[in-house]
Amino acid sequence: MRVHFDFSAIRKIRWYEYAVRFLFGGAITAATGLVAAHFGPVVGGLFLAFPAIFPASVTLVAKHELEKKQKVGKDGTTRGKKAAALDARGAAMGTFGLGFFAIVIWKLLPVWNSMAVFSFAILTWLIVAILIWYAEQHRPV
């Protein structure tokens, strides 16, 4: 399937769903700082890859699929779970990009300009994640 943007999805999200993500995202970022301050950078760094908003996102995905099916008089429970599993599958592939992002930060931050390292790390994350997703899509069955 071709990758595309569907901006109508924004209208389907309720204000409190945005608020939940903001709160979870803010809370885990603040908590990561506290953990690092208390236990040091080695333990604190683990939480930079904590699936902070994943439960909120995946639950919303399942809920929206369920509502879509219920509108046409069908039980969307299975469809909701399948959509959530697809999201989780994408996340599993994305973790490879996340790992490479971390390697770039670890190896290059001490020797390069910070902005250059961040830009290169984001680019690395994006390229690795997309390549793995593409390879998975074109994997011979």
Binding site: F5, T95, I105
Partner: protein, 113 residues
């Protein structure tokens, strides 16, 4: 308290931005890539460089590799619970935190400690 609130706001904005990007992208599996975006890392590392320096942030980056491996285990358990055990999305995604903690602190104990 000030820096903590600053972290909270910056983290909330960056995490929400990646999350919205995931909402508008299709297909679903591609959008899922953004669930594992380095949003917390971006929000935290920039502030850490300013307050603690680049070497401190680089050490966090090293541990983040273990966190990413743990995130992979987390996602795998979540898929298993959703597809094979037919758990609900909330229950599966919350229970799977156990895989993240075992993976992250297991690697910390074996490799990073």
């Amino acid at each position: 308290m000030g820096p903590l609130i600053f972290r909270f706001v910056v983290g909330g904005i960056i995490v929400s931005a990646f999350s919205i990007l995931g909402d508008v992208l299709k297909p679903r599996s591609f959008a899922g890539l953004f669930s594992a975006a380095p949003s917390v890392g971006l929000a935290t590392l920039g502030l850490t460089i300013v307050t603690e320096g680049k070497l401190y942030a680089a050490r966090e980056g090293r541990s983040m590799i273990a966190g990413a491996v743990a995130f992979f285990l987390y996602a795998c358990l979540c898929i298993h619970l959703l597809v094979r055990n037919r758990w609900g999305a909330m229950a599966a995604s919350v229970f799977s935190f156990s895989a993240w903690f075992v993976g992250a602190f297991g690697l910390w104990f074996l490799v990073l400690k």
